[in-house]
């Protein structure tokens, strides 16, 4: 792959600038800038997300056992992923190999998070675009519009969310700030009553998740030409896979392919991820750009997340999700699996897998066990990697002999996808915006491409009065030519 065009224009001074800030329905501080020439042709397109780096300072100097609780405060959307990734890293520090009960409780918590996160994204954030159209009436293109026209879908989305949250509450101990997972294990298992309570609705969640996969497929079928070509590009890919090649969202080795599908490395131990992955910086972005060392900074960028995981594993170890995976891969001669909008379909396949995995775990009496903790030889370094809802999540800590964290490094899913999202918006800019009068609907195409990745950045703040969306068109002299406010 060569460096994608539209990243940097040589003479930006006299170009018209369009700013979309912040991206609606994207957590964190996202901004897209487009530079247009006098004929309205797109000369440059960039996605800027303000990466949050203060976490190192936040964590350094703290005793390691506080970290799994503290890191939940990095992100109000997927705190469980940080909680578990930190614990996996610190398991290495305390030298623990988890007991069966501890590992299964953690897995249950993780699948609960996957279920609720994927439900939120599909039903709340993306279904308005997908059900009504990217440039449909903006007043209708939201969850309320979905609830009005598709009440069952909206209700199922809410109840799937709630069920996932209940799984988290029972395994983590609380709705938020859970303490269930600790370095070396867990501090509680399930009671029989908790297990039975979750089992009551487990089969309904599977049925609704299956319906959601079918809905995602139907949307793809009904808009085949659009979905095939929208923001489609080839990318290198990275995900965890189990030792037998199965999809495993909690644990495994690293598998990477290049853009042609050739395996670059497989079952690579994640505790030496830095031997495979490096991070680049660009002057125009606060967020780093990770890449495979073997391919170099220009060509080594890659994509993570549901679309990568579902296409990259050899099989899914639950039957309904695996059947859907095979149909997904075969659909339209494999084009859905290569399309950016295939993310939504793949995400729903993963939601179905999570629902099946929760049901299977709830039938496993190890969840009720009392052997919760393990230990071993103390180490100074720990790396924890799991597949969070949005993609691969890396936590890396160094702990001194006084048990204080002296170094922390986190690479979150959205950072892994930084360049892939930039490529996606450039494809959209080139195909849909170039030379045209910009409207809200057209600009929403950019957001649709970004939202497919479900980026989310450490935005655990939500104060009243924040988070408006403003789109400004600024002319070559720097004056605001027009402005759209929404939010």
């Amino acid at each position: 792959m060569s460096t994608p065009s539209l990243e940097t224009v040589s003479r930006p001074e006299r170009l018209r600038r369009v700013v979309i800030e912040p991206l609606s329905r994207v957590e964190g501080h996202g901004k897209v800038t487009l530079l247009l020439d006098e004929q309205g042709h797109v000369a440059q397109a960039r996605l800027h997300i303000v990466e949050f780096r203060a976490f190192e300072k936040f964590i350094q100097g703290r005793p390691y056992w506080e970290v799994p609780v503290m890191v939940q405060r990095l992100c109000g959307i997927c705190p469980v992923s940080h909680h578990l990734a930190a614990c996996k890293a610190l398991d290495q520090v305390v030298g623990a190999t988890l007991t069966p009960t501890a590992e299964k409780i953690r897995r249950l918590m993780h699948y609960g998070q996957i279920l609720q996160s994927h439900a939120l994204h599909f039903f709340h954030l993306s279904s308005p675009d997908l059900l009504f159209g990217f440039d449909s009436d903006v007043a209708r293109r939201n969850i309320v519009g979905v609830a009005a026209e598709y009440p069952d879908i909206a209700r199922q989305g809410v109840l799937l969310r709630r069920y996932g949250q209940e799984v988290i509450r029972h395994t983590a101990g609380k709705r938020i700030h859970g303490t269930g997972s600790v370095p070396g294990g867990v501090n509680k298992s399930l009671t029989r009553e908790e297990r039975d309570e979750l089992l009551v609705d487990a089969y309904q969640m599977i049925a609704w998740s299956r319906d959601a996969v079918r809905l995602a497929r139907r949307l793809f079928e009904q808009n085949l030409e659009l979905y095939r070509g929208f923001a489609t590009f080839r990318a290198n890919t990275l995900s965890l896979v189990r030792a037998d090649g199965a999809l495993d969202l909690y644990h495994g080795g690293l598998r990477a392919r290049d853009a042609t599908g050739r395996v670059l490395f497989d079952h690579a131990p994640y505790d030496r991820y830095w031997e495979r992955i490096a991070e680049d910086v660009k002057a125009w972005s606060y967020m780093k750009f990770p890449y495979f060392k073997a391919l170099g900074g220009d060509d080594g960028w890659y994509r993570v997340g549901p679309l990568t995981r579902v296409t990259q594993c050899d099989f899914i170890p639950t039957p309904l999700a695996d059947r859907e995976r095979r149909e997904f891969l075969a659909f339209d001669e494999g084009r859905a699996a290569a399309a950016t909008l295939g993310f939504h379909w793949a995400r729903m396949i993963e939601m179905l897998h999570a629902a099946e995995a929760i049901k299977d775990l709830l039938h496993d009496d190890d969840l009720l066990g009392s052997d919760l903790m393990a230990g071993g030889r103390r180490e100074a370094r720990g790396v924890g990697v799991l597949e969070a809802p949005r993609g691969t999540l890396i936590h890396h800590y160094r702990v001194d002999e006084d048990d204080q964290v002296v170094r922390a490094n986190l690479i979150v899913s959205t950072t892994h996808n930084n360049q892939a999202m930039n490529v996606a918006i450039r494809e959209v800019a080139r195909r849909y915006l170039d030379g045209r009068q910009l409207t809200e609907g057209l600009l929403n195409h950019i957001e649709v491409a970004v939202r497919a990745f479900d980026p989310c950045l450490s935005c655990a703040t939500h104060a009243v009065g924040k988070m408006p969306l403003s789109v400004q068109l600024i002319d070559a002299d720097g004056a605001v030519a027009s402005e759209i406010q929404r939010g």
Binding site: V144, A460, H462
Partner: protein
């Protein structure tokens, strides 16, 4: 009734709602349940079931005084949001998924300025928190 506090305890002034809620939980007023969340999301509409009334407590960057009380009504005009919802949007979601009117609701907004990770409350938010406490007790005793 339900008191629903929103905010991240580790993000500067965002902690002001949870701090107030913890104080209220310690007071253990009869008939008052306290919930704390990082952000409001769609499933929180289900927490409104069978409530006589609801008070949302949140940091507020456009508060006209240290602590403000505003009625909250369902609002269908949320064309674009982040992963999180505003209180009015949670009420609207409740209406849409249950078909019923939501309980009467108020927002107790506390002035806030800074939201950096690891920071404590600003002076403004500290003042707001103290000013909000008697207002919260009033709302609980309506």
């Amino acid at each position: 009734m339900l008191v629903f506090a929103i905010g991240n305890p580790s993000r500067g002034d965002d902690a002001v709602g949870p701090q107030l809620a913890e104080r209220l939980a310690e007071a253990a007023l009869p008939g008052v349940e306290v919930l704390i969340e990082f952000q409001l999301q769609v499933e929180h509409a289900l927490d409104l079931e069978d409530r006589e009334r609801v008070v949302f407590v949140d940091a507020c960057v456009d508060a006209e005084s240290a602590a403000v009380v505003r009625p909250v009504l369902p609002d269908a005009r949320f064309a674009h949001t982040s992963h999180a919802l505003a209180p009015s949007q949670v009420l609207e979601t409740y209406v849409r998924i249950t078909g019923r009117e939501p309980p009467p609701a108020w927002l107790l907004g506390i002035q806030a300025e800074r939201f950096e990770l690891g920071e404590g409350l600003s002076l403004a938010a500290t003042h707001g928190r103290d000013a909000a406490w008697p207002r919260l007790l009033e709302l609980c005793r309506l």
